[in-house]
Symmetry: C2
Subunit: 213 residues, 2 copies
């Protein structure tokens, strides 16, 4: 059976997104800087349909993000926008464009029912109103022998840790400070972590932790 | 000329000391866990006058903490206790015992004047009431060609970063969460950081940053 795992970028001061997140600025002020280390990589560019880029110590980490993933879980904000009910006719289809980079079923935590949304390229968003346990259980079913990726944001990652559902987290520690926003390791209950290993890469440090219950 | 640098342990949630710090518990609740990775090392034990211990990837990092250091700077709380005036007759000589592990002049930031305090083994505490710029300038003078170590705590490290006085910081990222206490990378002004390199060691990840002004 696969594991439930998360890859997430975090600032030096511990934020997974910057302050003043909004529909126009979903990563918050300065938040796009969290992902700058990945943008130049060939592995990241290939996954997002772009050419070129470099290979460095981060490349294998980026390839691992999608390797062996059979399903995903994400929060409503990461799917697209705030906490309100689904509006528009047809309703908003999220941040991710017609062909989202997930290529698996993705279970979206929300308080508002909605029919599944089938996108191009193998991604189908399923909307789950019964909480994180149900979302992860459904993702596990869908993933079969493969892994479940917890895509984010910080609040969803925390929910999986608190509920004892997350097996592993790989933190991409970036050298910027954001001064506010969504803290990653907040309200994680009595979970403890073990260092599995670290990768020294240009402009970022990747650290893998096992979550111990 | 030497540089001004800092080696400091931080929790996964970004704290350099735990919550509810007191005279009885200067590292705060759970704060001693920040330093657990070092206690088993031969390099750490030798510096603290103890035998035994192991050698691993952290050993060189610990040896570097004291290598080529000509003087230090620390906050009043790290020297010993809270912010009040110096009490007792003779007044309190700090947490560090008769032979503190610094073996150099150490400039203590305080609001209360006090004569220098010469300890055994080469450590002399000088009490500086004119702020961090003066403390670092005096430490640089005392260090000559060697480095100035900013020993801590978090508030003192932040002051040196905000004032543009810190050249390098090595963060020992430990896998525990503290849930409260003194955040390390808070109120650091407009300083930016560059990753110099990381060391993957048992139970800890050491990341070296250059502070860019």
């Amino acid at each position: 059976m696969g594991i439930v795992r998360c890859h997430i970028s975090v600032s030096l001061d511990g934020y997974a997104a910057g302050p003043r997140q909004s529909l126009e600025n979903p990563l918050g002020e300065g938040g796009e800087g969290l992902h700058r280390w990945a943008f130049e990589l060939d592995a990241w560019r290939r996954e997002h349909g772009r050419d070129g880029g470099v290979t460095n110590a981060s490349s294998a980490v980026v390839e691992e993000v999608t390797a062996n993933v059979g399903a995903g879980v994400m929060g409503r904000s990461m799917f697209g926008g705030g906490p309100g009910p689904w509006r528009g006719d047809p309703p908003w289809r999220g941040w991710w464009g017609d062909d989202p980079p997930f290529h698996t079923p993705v279970f979206v935590l929300t308080h508002h029912e909605r029919a599944p949304l089938e996108m191009e390229g193998g991604t189908t968003f399923h909307f789950v109103t019964d909480g994180v346990d149900v979302a992860v259980a459904r993702a596990r079913d869908a993933a079969g022998d493969r892994d479940v990726a917890v895509h984010g944001g910080a609040d969803t990652v925390q929910q999986t840790i608190r509920a004892g559902l997350l097996d592993e987290i790989v933190v991409h520690v970036t050298p910027l400070t954001l001064g506010g926003g969504s803290r990653l390791f907040e309200d994680v209950g009595d979970a403890t972590f073990e260092v599995v290993g670290a990768v020294d890469a240009p402009g970022v440090t990747h650290v893998r932790y096992r979550v111990v219950r």
